[in-house]
Amino acid sequence: MSTDTHAAQIAGLDALEIAEKRRGALAGRLWARVWPITLAVGIVLAIWQGVVWAGFWEPWVFAGPSEVFPVLFERLGTGEFWQAVGVTMRRAVTGFAAAMLIGLIVGALVSRVKVLRAAFGSLITGLQTMPSIAWFPLAILLFKLSESAITFVVILGAAPSIANGLITGVDYTPPLLLRAGHVLGFRRVQLYWHVILPASLPSFLAGLKQGWAFAWRSLMAGEIVVIIANQPSLGEQLHYARELADSAGLLATMIVVLMIGIVIDLLFEAGDNALRRRWGLRADLR
């Protein structure tokens, strides 16, 4: 009895301590997350500036931070820049969402139906390796000079990746869980929905991440094939910066693309962490 109250006390004390820790932890965690990134950015900047100062190349060939950041900051102040980001993000998100849907369906079918897999399984990777420019003629034929043409190319870029992620996940679903699902009476679609899909989630998530990269790259290429009036876009900016041999402009756009990529990665990371926490995959024995 005295042991019980004692235990309760300990638990109480510990709980206090934990609450304390948590409060400190939020700031600490943020800090722990921020300083390495800051450091990394600092290192990259230092190398960049160093190369520029070393003077291997003329400044219009390879612009330094002192040229690029003014350009970048000036852009950040213009409405057009934000419109461009908005347009590109909208296209990326719609295209990616459609690719996700298609990838999910194709992946589901191909991974589960033997004949389909034998017939089309390898085609998926084949499609994945097809460069976007090969699709442009077809895209324009099918959708004229509309935004759908861009979306088409984005989907063709991302969907195979997403499907492949799902297929890998399905292939590596632990047989024990499949058996458990089977015994619980799940068959076909139900087995898929209740067992295979959740078990494949990590791999699917990885496929999504790769798919995003494909989608984004295809989008960058697609945005210069179909240029829509009054719709400035990042792809266009990137292209014209290169076309005009505008080193500072190109680097500024690259920084923007990188930033967006990093933000998206942080979103994926958050999802991934949530998943790993739930599954009990901790990182302490590293």
Binding site: L177, R179, A180
Partner: protein, 261 residues
């Protein structure tokens, strides 16, 4: 026993063989479980007990022979807990009762968790439980299934004697109430005698039915009762003889395989 033979069997294996590559795991096993019968399966490690249950559950196809469960619903509890790591403990149990409405399902899941002494652990996830607790969740899940035939592969292996005794009672109660047919694998001979209407002894590599022991002790039985101990001792002797007899064979077969592969 004679009464049950007349009725149609719940589970019927006829000359069932199972080959893994060139390892003969089961050799012409014939066995049947009558409706409402509780059959315990004993045998040395690696003799094919899990294989047999897999075949009955339809998770694997036999290499020869015929298996029938006559369309009965089969629930199974695996040797490993086999919980879904992405679900909470309660959701894992609820998975067995998808047909029920949400609220009822939830209440029932809590009930089953209480039964396996895990009340309050519903919101946890499998990785937050101990080995024995996970096994109990799996038990709860298999009991929650509305099945006619229950296959159990060493369900109480990782539990302490006390918890085990309590769960024996629960299992017996449910078996009674629902008139389940149970095929129960265990290494604990007393447990087999405590629970079974019949204890079936399998030999090793290849697995064959060596002997059957009807258990005609009155229920409720107690694991530490003298009668149970006596019968258990008899069966244990037979088992030991069986294991000893097949020890050499097993070695020989395995060695031969190594040469071949």
């Amino acid at each position: 026993m004679t009464v049950q033979v007349d009725r149609q069997e719940s589970v019927r294996l006829e000359g069932v063989s199972k080959l893994y590559g060139d390892l003969l795991a089961l050799d012409k096993v014939s066995l049947s479980v009558a409706p409402g019968e509780f059959v315990c399966l004993l045998g040395a490690s690696g003799c094919g007990k899990s294989t047999l249950l897999s075949l009955v559950a339809g998770l694997d196809q036999p290499s020869g022979g015929a298996i029938s469960t006559a369309g009965r619903r089969v629930a199974m509890m695996f040797q490993e807990p086999a919980l879904f790591p992405w679900l909470t403990v309660r959701a894992n149990v609820e998975m067995a009762m998808r047909a029920l409405p949400r609220r009822e399902r939830r209440a029932k899941a809590e009930e089953f968790l209480e039964m396996v002494h895990l009340g309050g652990f519903g919101p946890k996830r499998p990785h937050q439980l101990s080995g024995g607790m996970r096994q109990r969740v799996a038990l709860a899940r298999s009991l929650a299934q509305d099945a006619d035939v229950l296959l159990m592969d060493e369900p109480f292996g990782a539990l302490d004697a006390m918890t085990r005794d309590l769960l024996h009672d629960e299992l017996e109660r449910i078996w009674r109430e629902r008139k389940l047919s149970v095929l129960f694998v265990t290494h604990n001979v007393r447990e087999a005698v405590r629970l079974g209407d019949r204890v079936v002894l399998l030999s090793s590599r290849p697995g064959k039915v060596v002997e059957e022991f009807p258990v005609e002790l009155a229920r409720p039985r107690r694991t530490d009762s003298a009668e149970v101990a006596t019968l258990a001792a008899r069966i244990t002797d037979q088992l030991k003889r069986e294991v000893a007899r097949h020890g050499d064979v097993a070695h020989k077969t395995a060695a031969a395989q190594e040469v071949r592969s």
